[in-house]
């Protein structure tokens, strides 16, 4: 009597395409996925617990290590939360610098997404091109804060230092070159028939399901839900800029890809607007040496490249947070993996993982 049975394939934690140390336990029927259970925790460092034994200022460098390809956003979210608790007013110039840096970081993060998607689908040239352009942005960050990846640039009350004189010409050069770069990627990847057929109609997440699970960021907007915190609840000075939020229709991998490509263009537009409006002045408000927010609790969230990054801080009036919780979009977005993968093939799991764009540093806080 012939019979078939499913088998378990442990994809990860050491696997070329799980973007770090994610393990996906695949139950396969031949090549078809019956179940895909993400197994997290391989990069758990206890950052939330560490916060309780650090002062508020000491915790800023830890936020860099959450979503380590968009550290500027992590800094911003945390600093704005503490500023909200203490009612600190940030100088105009610092607000503009924050916008420029986080939007540049969004481009850098999406370039990594594009590169890793390309190499996960077997087109390694796409990755090289993505990382090449990201290098230009990292050079810019290097100028302003001396670091290429963990910046700790945004502080309570402003930013750590004003930009050097060579920064603005370099940024202008980048903004001039960027449309041509983007065009090159579109020609290499977006126009590719194979890529289109790999991504189109794979890993469809309905708008209703996306909302139920709590997806945010491009993964949610791909399903057609118009939710971008920069528009819905503008933090900082986002209400002063003119930009559009790209939306998808189907919620498949293709939509998640095209939305991010379009977001890069919008971000470049925001940077250009911010650069032209940026006033002169100081970049740091006067902040007490010892940060002691009044007792109470506050939640603040920003739109990071991967979705809604929220910080929830409970203060008892001391120098350390009583409790700090980070709402990590990567972690929550990853919860949809099993549903999105069912009935598809191994190759699709890779594409879905890449387009959900979860970053393990943020999944395991």
């Amino acid at each position: 009597m012939l019979k078939t049975e499913t088998f378990t394939l442990n994809m990860g934690p050491q696997h070329p395409s799980t973007h770090g140390v994610l393990q996906v336990v695949l139950e396969l029927d031949g090549e078809t996925v019956v179940q895909a259970i993400p197994n997290m925790g391989y990069l758990h460092r206890g950052i939330e617990k560490l916060a309780e034994s650090r002062t508020y200022a000491q915790f800023i460098p830890y936020t860099d290590r959450l979503d380590y390809v968009s550290s500027m956003g992590n800094n911003l979210g945390y600093c704005q939360t503490v500023e909200k608790m203490m009612d600190i007013k940030v100088p105009e110039r610092a607000e503009y610098l924050r916008i420029i840096m986080t939007e540049l970081n969004r481009i850098a993060s999406h370039l990594i997404f594009m590169g890793s998607l390309a190499i996960d689908l077997g087109a390694s040239t796409g990755m090289m091109f993505g990382f090449r352009s990201r290098e230009r942005i990292l050079d810019l960050f290097d100028m302003v804060c001396g670091a290429r990846q963990t910046y700790t640039y945004i502080r309570f009350g402003g930013v750590s230092a004003d930009i050097p004189s060579e920064f603005i010409p370099a940024l202008e050069r980048f903004l001039t070159d960027f449309p041509a770069m983007l065009d090159e990627y579109h020609r290499l990847l977006t126009g590719n028939e194979i890529l289109y057929h790999r991504l189109k109609n794979t890993g469809v997440i309905s708008a209703q399901r996306a909302v139920e699970i709590g997806l945010t960021g491009p993964a949610l907007r791909a399903s057609g839900v118009d939710y971008d915190i920069r528009k819905v609840e503008p933090y900082g000075i986002y209400d002063r800029f003119d930009f559009s939020v790209p939306l998808g229709q189907v919620g498949d991998c293709w939509d998640r890809y095209t939305i991010r490509m379009e977001e890069m263009k919008q971000s470049a537009g925001i940077v250009a607007q911010a650069l032209s409006q940026m006033p002169e002045g100081t970049v740091m408000a006067s902040v007490p040496k010892v940060v002691k927010p009044p007792a109470g609790e506050v939640y603040h969230s920003i739109e990071n490249p991967r979705g809604e990054l929220g910080y929830y801080i409970v203060s008892n009036g001391g120098t350390n947070p009583y409790r700090l919780h980070v709402r990590r979009p990567s972690f929550i977005n990853l919860q949809v993996l099993n549903e999105a993968c069912q009935g598809l093939l191994i190759g699709d799991v890779v594409a879905i993982l890449a387009t959900l764009d979860s970053l393990m540093g943020e999944v395991d806080c």
Partner: protein, 346 residues
Amino acid sequence: MQEITGLFKIAEILRAILGRFLSDPQLVDICMSLINIGSIFTIISLTAVVLVYAERKVSAFMQRRSGPNRVGPGGTLQTVADMVKLMAKEDIMPAGADKWMWMLAPILLFIPAAAVFVVFPFDNKAIFADLNIGVFYFIAMSSQSVLPFLMAGWASNNKYSLVGGMRTVAQMLSYEVPMVLSILGIVMLAGSMRMSTIVAAQQHTWFILLQPIAFVVYVITATAEINRAPFDLVEGESEIVAGPFTEYTGMRWALFFLAEYANLLAVSVIATTLFLGGWNGPWLPGWVWFFLKVGGMVFLFMWFRWTFPRLRIDQLMSFGWKVLLPLALLNIIVTGIGMYIYEFFS
């Protein structure tokens, strides 16, 4: 008849020299066969060295990098250094592997890759065995490489390897059929399966001009046959790590690599011979033309690899059976009708 130059001339000179030292003409024949075999193996092993270097340089060129540039002038000795490293590597056999099958697989894969070189016309008369079923021999031999992949995949006792092995069988079997049918058009035109006859028939018109569809089908199926991107599902790094090769280390892995590049050269040679006029060409010696055309084909295959994303397994199968196969069949029908009309009017 074209004047005989190049490689055959060299062989004649060698034969004359040997004739002075060896009295028995039979001994001379044996010596010449050994020399021919030796040169074919030299070509195969040199190919791997040169092509690996070329691939890394071509990929670097496409990705705006410099590629290998440390070992030797311009990095030319990089592959040699890699080879030395691979030979020094520990030979690890996975626990629970089927020992004999596992050890035989890389060797068995190399045999068909080397055996097809017998029928390649490198220059006028420079062909080891001008079989009257040359094309058939090539197809028969190259299809033998399916089994070693499955052996390696099964014997490794690894799930990635097994999935990779299964994919190989599915892929190679379904792309073999349109490949054979695309070559059939050439055989109809030339009226022979003998390599030298096919090349001679292209003295004035290359078959790529008469059989453009067959050429396209051939190039696509050949890419799938040698498991290169966009059809590299067998190794599909981001999905199944390295497929059947996952558990191999050191020289065993290098043998897979060697076979892969020998196969790349083989399909390029066949494309040159069947579609691009073989060694035919003005001014330059035949073997220079031959290697120029082969080099062009190899570059084309590398270009594919470094530009395209990978197909998915179901898309691969449906493309093979639903697009390429009907196209190849259509090509045969059109060729047949065309030949009939041509004969009717001349």
